[in-house]
Symmetry: C2
Subunit: 238 residues, 2 copies
Amino acid sequence: MAEQVGTLRRAPLSRDRILRAAVALADGAGIGSLSMRNLAQDLGVVPMALYKHVANKDELLDGMIDVVVGEIDPLVPDADWKHALRERILSARQALRRHPWAPLAIESRSMATPAILAYLDSMVGRLRAGGFSADLAHHVMHAMGSRILGFSQELFDPSRQAGRSGTAEPDPPAALPPEIAARFPHLAEIATAASHDDASVVGPGCDDQFEFEFALDLLLDGIERLHRRGWTSRHVPR
Amino acid sequence: MAEQVGTLRRAPLSRDRILRAAVALADGAGIGSLSMRNLAQDLGVVPMALYKHVANKDELLDGMIDVVVGEIDPLVPDADWKHALRERILSARQALRRHPWAPLAIESRSMATPAILAYLDSMVGRLRAGGFSADLAHHVMHAMGSRILGFSQELFDPSRQAGRSGTAEPDPPAALPPEIAARFPHLAEIATAASHDDASVVGPGCDDQFEFEFALDLLLDGIERLHRRGWTSRHVPR
DNA sequence: ACGGTAGGTGTACGCCGTACACCTGTCAAG
DNA sequence: CTTGACAGGTGTACGGCGTACACCTACCGT
């Protein structure tokens, strides 16, 4: 029985276990708390042990991103391109919202990971299958930008704070502090004026999901119009 | 004459001199090389001297962002809202392209700086003056997202590499490496298929400026349509 | 002449990523 | 049963980071 003690005391390390622990750490304590030392401690191991499974911290981050991307639902089959893309992008958004550190991590890495490339590739494939020219598909992918992965990098985004817990407390009204409101009257006006008033559950604050879908549909509708009229980049776009 | 030696040897430090040196360092050596120690060395001073003028590194970054934002042209007067916004956003884009580190720096800070708030406020003001409801203006600002500051955070962006010089070499064709092209056929297809073929100066590569304006006009046209028909968020947006 | 103060200096601390040598348990080949 | 290779966890150490804190020094208004 003694021979089992070693294996019972601690599950053996593996790349997968490391990645999942890293994601959990970043989710719970913020990406700022993700250090090789902290991560090793969570795993009950010495920091250098990690390097037997991941090459370095950058590769660790890439692996974490792939974990998140792996949570995105597959394309729904048997739907027109617009509906298929819309649903999948909203699924991506849900995945990324579970991991608030992910958008910045994705944008910091200079090259996309294979998992992201596969995701993008499938989206392009769906466009092509829907009759888009390679030319228009190209521009569409650019126009969507990071929105195609479900995030849009708002200019103020309190959830991006370093040490925040991942649990989504509804973030109280958060109107502008008065001295700021006084200096920037137009911002103050629109900060509260977003009237999602038919569903006042949301209160006077700002409904992120609504804003995301607003922009997404603005783009999809515009793209649909271009597609219908057989747009190509030979025409000037306006 | 000896009493002048001290002042001749080195210009006195100031917050402004520090910020400009920091921007120059980040432009030239990449944001990854911007450390308090490197910056102090460039200024011929000991690292801790900087802290008499900036509170900490985060505040230094905020100051650098404000330098960049200060380079954006003011709103052109006497133009319809669409033209005014479009021109100013393209001006912002030019400013940010001179400082490739700026987009990521802006998105990393959790709260916007006063200069950014002033910029956004003026944009909202222009929309309101153009007859937009506070409600629609709110959604428009969200829909534009970081694009209103002239960048859209592409998913691959080689210029975001850490140690790159800021001088814009045209970035040679940069088609996908063959083993990647094989795994992601749709990406490979659209990577080269963007036919800006009427002006083949650009070659087969991808014209960032064109892509940016494509997405910008897609959004502006959609926004114009909503504005014309008096859209409010009481209606479901699709 | 002098005391306060603004601004540059030196030292030190705790954190980071990770190179490198080392140890240990497992397992296949002889 | 011995042996030796090897996968995987350990310990130590290095250079770099941001910055707290005590200090020094030159200037300026009284």
